[in-house]
């Protein structure tokens, strides 16, 4: 019997249906303390005064931490990729988004922890927030950093992709079709909220029960904040109540660990659903402007794009996501002349992060909607427009990768068949085979790549 290809039951199926699957919140340890955080009530403000001494004296309170308790407060999630660290674990002199954590309390009950949070003395000087990414360069808007509101992709402001000759394409085109696409920010909304439980062990190690999607990544983040080697930590997890990209941020583990170290008791931080909706990182809002050079025969000779990505208050993974976005802006089509420019913009929205499809979800929306506008403009059937321009074996992507085995055409034909859509003429029998005949006009001939080259690009 073969296992691969078989509809075998879930490895964890029985434990799920009998209620035996253990999530972080289900782990039971004696002496557990609960956590509540002091969070910024403002979208943008300076912190003028912070005093936790009154809160520390309240009954049931075992530990309170501020940025002063964090060995390394500012750690970049993408430091390994050379992206500068910009986000404090606990706010220092300012807050840049509503809900940003400033202090955290570990106490014997959720109520005691919340009472202590409410007793922390804090005062702010509110600032006007910057919200509209389209105004990122405008001189009159508030600036989140001394350098402004845009991430710098050394040596350019923007992530660039350039291939072929867009000037030629736009000159040659019969039509230039322009559109603006704005898919919005949404929540991951997993059924399990962010949660971590940290147990200080007799050995001096910390056991971190975590809902993370990435055990070693999160372990690395905590270790860096604490300034300890990896073997001081043991991450336990692997069973998560939904993530969808929102549980890579390591949102609870470090603060719970610092409280556990200070209190010398196990500490759990379980976010409420309100915190999950209002303070957890979100899918970014995107703004994608496309201009396509098209012919009346339905060829897309060239494409120019300008993308603005709303990173929210801090970078997190945005520079990676906008890069991935830019590499895919031809969609599933072969467009030989391109100029793509993508900007990562900081705003006083909640920091954005990866969510299912990260970077490419916005491409799919923008490019597919734009294809429909092209079809409308030149009066071509939208199935035919796509089949004609769809990736074929040997086509080159904007990153110069030669496509060895694209399946754009077969998935379209299968969908058309399932939907009862009758395709006309040669469209009905199109394949992924290398371009030839009428599918290989002169402007596509020079972009056909060497199938024997590069190992990447399927």
């Amino acid at each position: 019997m073969k296992a691969v290809g078989a509809r075998l039951p879930r490895y964890d199926g029985l434990q799920h249906v009998t209620g035996q699957s253990l999530y972080v919140d289900d782990v039971r340890v004696p002496g557990l303390l609960w956590t509540k955080a002091l969070r910024s009530p403002h979208h943008s403000a300076l912190i003028r005064h912070l005093d936790t001494s009154a809160a520390e004296r309240l009954p049931g309170v075992h530990a309170i931490i501020t940025h002063e308790d964090v060995p390394v407060n500012v750690v970049g999630h993408l430091a390994a990729l050379g992206v500068p660290a910009d986000e404090p674990l606990l706010a220092e002199h300012e807050v840049r988004y509503l809900g940003q954590p400033i202090a955290a309390v570990a106490a014997e009950s959720e109520e005691a922890a919340q009472a202590a949070v409410d007793a922390i003395e804090v005062s702010y000087e509110e600032r006007e927030p910057f919200l509209d990414i389209r105004k990122a360069f405008d001189p009159e808007v508030p600036k989140l950093t001394p350098e402004g509101n845009l991430f710098f992709y050394e040596p350019h402001q923007e992530r660039r992709v350039r291939k072929g000759d867009v000037e030629w394409a736009f000159d040659k085109a019969d039509h230039i079709v322009q559109g603006v696409y704005r898919p919005g920010a949404i929540e991951h909304a997993p059924t399990e909220t962010q949660v971590a439980l940290v147990v200080p062990e007799a050995t001096g190690r910390l056991t971190v029960y975590s809902c993370t999607q990435a055990m070693y990544f999160s372990m690395g983040v905590v270790a860096t904040h604490l300034g300890v080697p990896l073997n001081r930590l043991k991450f336990v997890g692997g069973t998560v109540g939904g993530g969808f990209g929102g549980k890579v941020d390591t949102a609870t583990e470090t603060i719970a660990a610092l409280l556990a170290l200070k209190a010398k008791w196990p500490v759990k931080w379980r976010w409420t659903r309100e915190e999950e909706f209002l303070c957890s990182s979100v899918r970014a809002a995107w703004h994608v402007e496309i201009a396509d050079a098209v012919t009346t025969e339905g060829w897309i000779l060239g494409r120019r794009t300008m993308t603005l990505h709303d990173a929210g208050a801090y970078t997190r993974f945005s520079s990676y996501g906008a890069t991935k976005h830019t590499f895919h802006l031809t969609g599933a089509y072969t467009i030989p002349n391109v100029a793509f420019n993508s900007y990562v913009v900081w705003t006083n929205h909640v920091p954005t992060t990866a969510m299912r499809g990260f970077g490419v979800t916005s491409v799919s929306f923008a490019v597919e909607m734009h294809m429909n506008r092209i079809a409308e403009t030149i009066g071509m059937d939208p199935w035919e427009l796509r089949l004609q321009n769809a990736n074929r074996i040997g086509d080159t992507a904007p990153t110069r990768v030669t496509l060895k085995d694209p399946s754009a055409v077969p998935t379209m034909l299968a969908a058309a068949q399932a939907a009862g859509v009758e395709l006309a003429g040669d469209y009905r029998t199109m394949t992924s085979e290398p371009r030839a005949g009428r599918l290989l006009p002169e402007h596509l001939a020079s972009q056909v790549g060497d199938l024997g080259s590069n190992g990447g690009g399927q």
Partner: protein, 364 residues
């Protein structure tokens, strides 16, 4: 004053693995004295079923029944590194890692079996928990007996470990040239909708979804991604908004019912088609589906809205308010020479106080 039906579709692609690579996964395997297989891998199962898929890969790669294999991804003391469950890398990269470990375990099993059976390992094969001489099926030894022999006769341990990674590829900062991914999946989604042109409400009636996943290691788990992703895409396209008046900050929902994540009542009819166009480097030819599963629905639904009521919604979600405003404004693109300009009122040129100075714009 009518409910109008429409159909739209979208065709998309999505890469496997972290963009630009450099994201390894590791695994190691040990064999118990009775031949049962213990796998230690770091891939987190967030519901997508990686524990199941990896176990299937190991079972077939070594050649033992599926229920001989246990999978432990529970902690970082015993499990080696997996970069993480994201970027659609769990089946491909995580799966390749367990496959490498399994292949090496299989080689060790054959080494021991060869000693026991006095046959060259290259003349042996393993399937269903038995080592058999090629061409001489009566000469066989169970994997249980091989494991026992290794432990008690030879004083050896049967293990296998390995890792898999696509090396990091840095992009050229001027052109973007690089090798960003090891495989690409493609998909097409057809959406049938019903639009109430008086209330602006859109109901998705049916989604036909076709995915090329390379190889469906577990077809039912693939369906789970198609269906779960389908509803998530429906939410992204029609219902959900962290900022209902983006970019403004007001009226955020802080509970279910105020934040409109899809419920069972929004469930359309779903027809799933799985295609297998194997990848060159994935385990058993697999590619990926997890992330792309919610990418095709928003444009398919918005295309269907246009088919139904003749308006283009290019901001998500296509809320009833947006649909009604679009119906009211009946906007047409502006034509200037050969330029056909849609959505001008949303553009940087219109909203920026300097007309978008500083940006490299598409209308220049």
């Amino acid at each position: 004053m009518a409910k109008r039906r429409g159909r739209g579709f979208a065709m998309i692609e999505y890469p496997t693995g972290m963009n630009q690579g450099g994201d390894p996964s590791q695994a190691w395997i040990k064999v118990k004295p009775d031949g049962r297989i213990d796998v230690f891998a770091g891939t987190v199962d967030i519901g997508q079923g990686s524990k199941t898929v990896h176990t299937q890969i190991v079972a077939d790669t070594i050649g033992v029944p599926y229920d001989w294999v246990t999978m432990d991804n529970s902690n970082t003391d015993s499990s080696p590194l997996c970069t993480g469950t994201f970027a659609s890398r769990g089946t491909f990269i995580g799966g390749n890692a367990v496959a490498v470990a399994a292949k090496r375990t299989r080689e060790r099993i054959l080494e021991i079996a060869a000693k026991e059976m006095e046959i060259d390992p290259s003349d042996l094969e393993v399937a269903d928990g038995e080592v058999t001489a090629k061409g001489a099926p009566d000469r066989k030894l169970s994997v249980s007996d091989v494991a026992a022999a290794a432990t008690w006769t030879h004083g050896e341990m049967i293990t296998g470990s390995g890792a898999w990674m696509k090396p990091y590829s840095a992009p050229d900062p001027d052109t973007g040239e690089c090798e960003p991914h090891a495989a690409i999946s493609y998909a097409t989604c057809v959406a049938d909708v019903e639009v109430d042109d008086e209330t602006g409400e859109v109901r998705v009636l049916k989604l036909i979804q076709v995915y090329d996943v390379g190889r469906a290691i577990n077809p039912t788990l693939v369906e789970g991604q198609i269906e779960g992703g389908g509803m998530m895409g429906l939410g992204l396209g029609l219902l959900e908004a962290t900022y209902p008046y983006y970019p403004e900050l007001d009226n955020r929902g802080d509970q279910f019912g105020a934040y409109l994540a899809p419920s069972m009542e929004e469930l359309p009819e779903m027809e799933n088609v799985i295609l297998e166009n194997p990848s060159a480097e994935g385990p058993f030819g697999a590619k990926a589906i997890g992330e792309m599963a919610n990418n095709a629905q928003p444009p398919a639904i918005c295309a269907a809205i246009h088919d139904a009521v003749g308006v283009w919604i290019t901001e998500c979600p296509a809320s009833p308010e947006r649909v009604l405003r679009a119906l009211e404004s009946k906007s047409e693109p502006r034509r200037v020479g050969k330029r056909v300009i849609y959505d001008e009122e949303l553009s940087v040129a219109k909203l920026s106080s300097t007309g978008g100075e500083g940006f490299l714009r598409v209308d220049q």
